[in-house]
Subunit: 592 residues, 2 copies
Amino acid sequence: MPSYTAPTKDLNFVLNDVLRVADSPIEGYSDLDQDTFSAILDEAAKIAENVTAPLNKVGDEEGCVLENGVVRTPKGFKEAFATVAEGGWMGLDMPEEYGGQGMPYVVQTAVGEMLSSANMAFNMYQGLAHGAMSAIVAHGTEQQKQTYLPPMIAGQWGGTMNLTEPHCGTDLGLMRTKAEPQEDGTYKISGQKIWISAGEHDMVDNIVHLVLAKIPGGPEGVKGISLFIVPKFLVNEDGSLGERNALSCGGLESKMGIHGNATCVMNYDGATGYLIGDLHKGMRAMFTMMNEARIGVGLQGYAQGEVAYQNALAFARDRLQGRDVTGTKNPEGPADPIIVHPDVRRNLMDQKSFVEGARALTLWGAMLNDQAHRSQDDDAEALISLLTPVIKGFLTDKGFETTVQAQQTLGGSGFTQEWGLEQFVRDARITMIYEGTNGVQSLDLVGRKLGLNGGKTLMGFFEMVKTFIKENEDNAELKEGFLDPLKAASKDLQTAGMYFVAEGMKNPNNALSGSYDFMHLFGQVCLGLMWAKMGKASLAALAEGASDTEFYQSKLVTGRYYMARQLPATKMHLARIQSGAAPVMDLAAEAF
Amino acid sequence: MPSYTAPTKDLNFVLNDVLRVADSPIEGYSDLDQDTFSAILDEAAKIAENVTAPLNKVGDEEGCVLENGVVRTPKGFKEAFATVAEGGWMGLDMPEEYGGQGMPYVVQTAVGEMLSSANMAFNMYQGLAHGAMSAIVAHGTEQQKQTYLPPMIAGQWGGTMNLTEPHCGTDLGLMRTKAEPQEDGTYKISGQKIWISAGEHDMVDNIVHLVLAKIPGGPEGVKGISLFIVPKFLVNEDGSLGERNALSCGGLESKMGIHGNATCVMNYDGATGYLIGDLHKGMRAMFTMMNEARIGVGLQGYAQGEVAYQNALAFARDRLQGRDVTGTKNPEGPADPIIVHPDVRRNLMDQKSFVEGARALTLWGAMLNDQAHRSQDDDAEALISLLTPVIKGFLTDKGFETTVQAQQTLGGSGFTQEWGLEQFVRDARITMIYEGTNGVQSLDLVGRKLGLNGGKTLMGFFEMVKTFIKENEDNAELKEGFLDPLKAASKDLQTAGMYFVAEGMKNPNNALSGSYDFMHLFGQVCLGLMWAKMGKASLAALAEGASDTEFYQSKLVTGRYYMARQLPATKMHLARIQSGAAPVMDLAAEAF
């Protein structure tokens, strides 16, 4: 069975040494001194390691079962959910006035990585409730907040997001679910939603569904969509549960992974719903939560990579096969541990250098998100909007790839269910798909985000990279190993951006054909920047005489690996982008 | 449920237009005129499409069950196995004197692709029997051939290969299974073998296990390994089945994929075995079959890519979401089919251009294998030895990636078991692991094959590419779209090879740290060469006034895509290789 050890040391390094959260002027950050943050992470680590990680395999094997309209979650899930709720983890970043802890999103993110690595399927129940809570916080009336938030934050009620229908996934304009206005101001919701994670389960007393639907006679397409609160049980004025609403789980999907999470077909048969936010502005309401949700999925991608890597590393240190070609390392044993072999190391270093870079990028993204929302900083809002599709798309593609590489480290054992690596692969796979496929992320990046504020946000990103390089170029060690490769990669990204501007004007397909490569190119530059920042922090710590020299030296070696062995991908992406639309578009659809 | 249509047209194109098999002087090839080959492929296509493909999903869902020492295969497998056997497909390339069809290996390969795409788990029963038969053909005595081959070729008996033990996979020198000589010239085999595909099942009357074991007192390590025939039932002199041998299936692995194939723990408890081949030369005997077996696995990799691509394409033509940004394509419908979107096409073109290139490379490899064995051509033997790790490693990595990309085309549906794409991903995953992990392939390539014949084989490959380019450079259309990119890619490969020679001398880890990238770089050049050859053949067919212009035009567009969008990977691989050993080796094992 696989094991999981929460990487609290590395989380602390990113938060304190690299991002220096406590020094940030963002509201609420000054409370996050090193000791406080450390204490929170240590408590969350205990939950992840001891409560939810041990349920990861059983969740995969048992899965969820639908019986008489009720979904039974795997053995142990209910008790674990109660433990997580009692610890106050459900509302870590929710407002204190409704029972939350009022912590910044960056804390939620750091804790979320651990819970997601430990048991992704389990943590999604909380994740979906969190999404629903965020919607209510952002768009609900005071009464809606008072009605729904306290029991959700206490973990007594769950929550979901309902977007997809059988004939409409990406293209929500095709939506058919109807919301018919009633005289009492409520709506009758009718339609079928699919792929609703945590749509029905036995761990909570009530489930608060947030449902996108169209009011008859409203505008066509996405402009006629509104958002509704549709609880499983209606809520009495005193907050107690009333009658059962006209909605039900019509089936569970059999899927490749995340078996422990119930993916439901939800049928709404004239269910009572309450408008949340403005009429016909449901898409906008959904979009305000999109950055958070997508950063959360990016996090899931690398979090599966992290736990997979941990198990691959343990195997590589333990498994004895062959001898180090440069000299035996384990003369008493029948063979050397496979970690001596260059190609095994190449594989492990790929995993390690990606995961650590991804962690830094995600926490930085969370910090920008806080800056945008807590300090009402429009530039931060624009920057995180630009980075969100990169975080979602690049980190899930690479996170999945990391689980596959970790599985490879184990050879044949990696293919067996016994060792558990194959579950990480199957679970990670969904992150490339849901919350907008990665192809859709690339379209969002190139089609929408590059032009944000007339391109100024993108220019600001380049300027930031340039400034960082300039300010640190006199550090020779940083320059050679980190800044020079970063400069080259950033230049490739700018060249690609200019290609889009010049050629996309002539034909939009010249830009769209390169969108996926651009997303990856951007991701490489982001991780290059993170590694340069981590390199700088490590050199500084060593210069200041930090006691844990091995930790900082390892960071430098790992960072140099990333720069030397991963960043060269930017040239490939640029070449693909510059080949333009013709290779992609020339084949007639019927000639495939 | 997914569907499968055998790509007989494309197989015919590669065999006739590109490789021109009937014109080859290889023994037996002159019989392979276009009509004969076409007829064979059409018959095999019927089996694949109608008999085995419909059992692919049921095999995955039911899996194999071990009860009282007997493995029950999924419903329908036994009947399908009988149908395949009756059609004479078991011994397609086996000697006619033992009941085979005596066809070249290239025929077996073309047919194998279809059967593997249709149902990989099912086809492995035949594949393993084929491996055992090949060993007996190559190393058995006349008596052994007469005893075992006819019933195996008839499909009445199966066969397996037994190498791995719990503590020894790649490093077979650690092997513990013992073979104790008996007075009657037989051996008593004792030990445990694991991951034995098709080790026990209910579709045949007897199973002929080929088992590697050590005779006590023999040389240490791999030099003391011999190969034995160990049948499940001993065979009487008249060929009838005698007593049950002392071997049994001790368990089945629960695995990520290929559920329809029984992966067995095999226990040998003093089982009667018969030496095959020379004493202590078991490894050599095994290696003579290695090229074939590894080409066969490379084939499995792209064959899963092929069937996955077919289903992704069908979905992309059918699914309506969004509108073509350059103008609506389906004005009567609520949206356009997603194949209009550039990034969906980019994904499909990746899949298509890889699979078609992989098919050509594999069939060329099979042809070289025939040339080596049927015409005793040492240069062909050396060349296919060089190419084998590339075919195995590159085509399975990319084949798996192709199944993942195809799954992505379907969005959320790709993650559900209902649509079946996720099974292709899970099944394809094993191809990167078994028959030597792809890391081991890259080690074989760089550590052994580059130096073959003092490097002359590698130089011969470069010379061949160069000659092809030179001979066709006056064809302007071929030059720009195909030959120029191929030339650049081939130059990258040569530069990498020279780096290995120069820096590997100083430190072998400089070469070994880049072995995986070198394997991929080599694979890209091979597929580039194949596409250049396919481009040439297509231009020639069009110039000759071929009636099916659309087919040849599609080939040219697809080939140009490969050259423009895939070959740029060579620069990335070269840069990684040239970063040398330091980034990979600098981190102490305990500092990970």
